[in-house]
């Protein structure tokens, strides 16, 4: 089965058809996806700022992470669900779209960056947990996170401009 055949099949599922045809579902999903973005990346950015030595500096890195985590996790879950539903509805059009591909690349970089931070950098957190200026690795994690998520947002918004007939 080719990729396009799988994507075609996705578009023909009940969810796919609903997303394409229901006049309210699509705008609601897009709005949820956009507003959920502000909660997910918007809170994550505060952790990235801490890694870079800005923002909420009197809090230890690990405590800030623990406190932000439930909100980040919950809102990212909303992003994944709304994004998946949107993708299912427009799979064959999203796949070849250059901005969609850039967005996916950005998501991959963000994910790998997070993995590296949690599996390697965070191991030594006891040494710098309370510090304001963190080791280079931790700062890089914050910077790469901000850059990759900015790319995801920019590319993601461009998808609407290059794919749908919906104005804006």
């Amino acid at each position: 089965m080719s990729v396009m055949e799988i994507l075609q099949w996705l578009e023909e599922t009940r969810i796919g058809v609903l997303v394409q045809e229901d006049p309210w579902l699509f705008p609601i999903l897009v709005s949820i996806h956009i507003l959920g973005l502000t909660l997910s990346v918007g809170t994550l950015v505060w952790f990235d700022l801490r890694l870079l030595g800005f923002g909420i500096r009197n809090c230890s890195v690990s405590r800030l992470y623990r406190r932000l985590m439930p909100w980040m996790l919950g809102s990212f879950f909303v992003m994944v669900v709304s994004g998946s539903m949107l993708f299912i509805g427009f799979a064959t059009k999203a796949y070849p779209n250059i901005y969609f591909r850039i967005k996916v690349a950005g998501l991959v970089v963000a994910g790998v960056n997070a993995l590296i931070y949690h599996l390697k950098t965070e191991r030594h957190i006891a040494e710098w947990d309370e510090a304001r200026v963190l080791p280079l690795r931790a700062r890089m994690a914050g910077l790469v996170s901000i850059l990759s998520w900015t790319t995801v947002i920019l590319a993601g918004r461009m998808i609407s401009y290059t794919m749908y007939d919906v104005a804006g």
Partner: protein, 156 residues
Amino acid sequence: MPISSALEWLASTELATAIQQSPAMGALSSVHLVGLTLIAGSASVVCLRCFGFLLPEQPLSEIMRPAWKVILLGFAVSLTSGALMFAPRAVAAAGNSAFRVKMILVLAAIVFHFTLYRSVTRSSESRPPWFRLTGVLGAGLWFAIGVCGCLFAIFE
């Protein structure tokens, strides 16, 4: 100069026509969204702290002060990109009700930040009802502005 001719003049300027005819509109909209993310994300963090759901051991000002800086940065980004998108479509935008409501809410948010937000940031007493009001107003206003923006973009 009556407002409609001022808007028409704005839409006819060289910069405005240049933007209208280029793929810049999409790029500006994307940048505008980054600004909103910074603003609404910070407003959400402040709201959660005001209700004691996030970092309750940290003094309120520890969160509200840096949040204000990030909101300012996000606002600068959104204001600039917004103005550039507005210029070529000034007349149509001004006539759109979602856009009008959005602008009124932005004005309300600005007033809010320079009054209640500022006074709560500087307050040394513990006044939970005022904190909660501040949290709700901040997050509520900016999210409502985001919703209006979505409505404007989808239904213009």
